[in-house]
């Protein structure tokens, strides 16, 4: 069933008003810039200090790419968690159930709450990586990284809203979802085919794509992410139906 554009926009407007009132909107605007500046200037500065005091050269240099991936993933994570916390509150207050029986529907509700913020964070993470990344990326790679990290953000948000029965459990799940990022360092630190043991983590494929620059890894990552999104979306729909 198609969701009307007007219903979607109204619902998104409602979401924006809520995060504006929570002062979260200001944080979502400032935090990526602050983080970008810390990554761009702080890490090379820390590298210099380490060289000065401990004589260790290039301690961080091999991991600049990893820092870039963290920077790229930070914005989607922040935006999607802010959205997930709004949904958690709405589930607890019974608003989600009501909204899903309006012309907005369950799909429209999710799109307006998680899809729109993900689209915005996709654009923000591209700009952020173009300005603040430590490595030299061509634009297509930046777009690929932003796409994968935004799918990862959507998965994290869906995990929080579909696996928890209330706000408290939601916070516990959101803490656990941090482990989803463990796939990022794996290709940097684990050699050989044993690294593929974490194939189910989209973050692993994101790191593989960034290192190898092979389209195949990007596509595999997108596929793994879509499987996660499909399963979690189903679970969320069942939960709303209850």
């Amino acid at each position: 069933m198609m969701v009307s554009k007007k219903a979607l926009l109204n619902s998104f407007k409602q979401f924006m008003v809520q995060i504006y009132k929570d002062a979260m909107l200001i944080l979502l605007c400032i935090a990526p810039l602050l983080a970008g500046s810390v990554f761009k200037f702080g890490i090379p500065f820390a590298q210099e200090l380490i060289y000065e005091y401990f004589g260790l050269t290039k301690l961080f240099v091999p991991y600049y790419l990893l820092f870039d991936l963290l920077l790229g993933s930070l914005t989607p994570l922040l935006y999607c968690f802010a959205a997930a916390y709004v949904v958690l509150g709405e589930i607890d207050d019974g608003i989600s159930g009501y909204l899903s029986v309006t012309p907005l529907g369950k799909r429209g509700y999710l799109i307006s709450r998680l899809g729109f913020p993900a689209v915005i964070s996709f654009v923000v993470s591209i700009v952020l990586m173009m300005v603040f990344s430590l490595s030299d990326f061509a634009l297509p790679y930046i777009v690929g990284i932003a796409l994968s990290s935004n799918l990862l953000g959507i998965i994290e948000a869906l995990l929080v809203v579909s696996l928890s029965s209330n706000r408290v459990e939601g916070m516990a799940v959101s803490k656990l979802t941090g482990l989803f990022f463990l796939g990022l360092p794996v290709p940097f630190f684990v050699e050989g085919s044993i690294q593929y043991l974490v194939f189910f983590l989209p973050s692993f494929w994101l790191a593989k794509f960034a290192i190898e620059k092979e389209l195949l890894f990007l596509l595999t990552g997108v596929l793994v992410s879509l499987v996660w999104i499909f399963m979690l979306n189903k679970k969320f729909n069942r939960k709303i139906n209850k």
């Binding site: 944080l27 916390y85 509150g89 607890d92 706000r167 916070m171 516990a172 482990l179």
Partner: protein, 230 residues
């Protein structure tokens, strides 16, 4: 009164168990211990202290918003407000129950890192946890949504964590010894044991001051549950 407080604490522990806190921290304890062994042995103990101070000890600042908001939405606070439970008992129950998990996790991480000042780690983690939980409760009593809570905790996190991290990694000035987080970290390191009584006194004064502010704010929340000022 003692039975009431004990029942409240047991109730809070059951609540935290039911909603996955114990499961999450079992996973994270295992994860942190594995991560510790990825660090060179020379900085392992410092890394463990940073982990304990920033996570299990600080869990009150992370979870309190959701706990209080959930209690508001389930009308638990309305029931507590008209029951014989005192504001002080409500605060103590939250602080002790969260402090308990934090301390157990802290001790396990410290032990795995080779820290043998276990008694000091227990005292420091628990007192650190009390401070973070009181801050969490203070903020949670004033907010209406989770996002408001997350935004409001940022200044507290910066104030509590940043000076302590600087101190732990070498930026040490005498005036910093007044900072409660730094006292907690020094106790975990087993430094300055001869002045332990003074450090405990300092922490006690900090906790008392933060408790008094929290008490006033929580009392106000209890008087205005349901949107009406009693």
């Amino acid at each position: 009164m003692r039975t009431r407080l004990r029942s409240l604490i047991i109730g809070d522990i059951q609540f935290q168990f039911k909603y996955g806190f114990y499961f999450v921290y079992t996973v994270f304890t295992f994860f942190y211990i594995c991560l510790l062994f990825a660090f060179p042995a020379t900085i392992r103990e410092k890394a463990a202290i940073l982990m304990i101070y920033s996570d299990p000890a600080a869990m009150g600042l992370f979870f309190m918003g959701s706990i209080v908001l959930f209690e508001k939405s389930q009308r638990v606070l309305n029931s507590i407000a008209v029951s014989p439970v005192k504001v002080s008992e409500y605060i103590l129950s939250k602080v002790v129950s969260l402090g308990l998990i934090g301390t157990v996790v802290g001790v396990l991480i410290a032990f795995a890192a080779g820290n043998r000042n276990i008694i000091l780690v227990i005292i420091a983690t628990f007192m650190g946890s009390v401070i973070f939980s009181l801050f969490g409760l203070m903020i949670a009593s004033k907010i209406q949504t989770l996002n408001q809570f997350m935004v409001a905790t940022i200044p507290f996190e910066i104030l509590c964590l940043v000076p302590s991290i600087f101190y732990l990694f070498g930026y040490q000035k005498p005036f910093m010894l007044l900072h409660p987080g730094i006292i907690v970290i020094r106790m975990m390191e087993g430094k300055n044991i001869e002045n332990i009584a003074f450090e405990l006194l300092m922490l006690g004064i900090w906790i008392l001051m933060i408790y008094m502010v929290t008490y006033r704010i929580v009392k106000k929340m209890f008087q205005s549950v349901g949107g009406v000022k009693l």
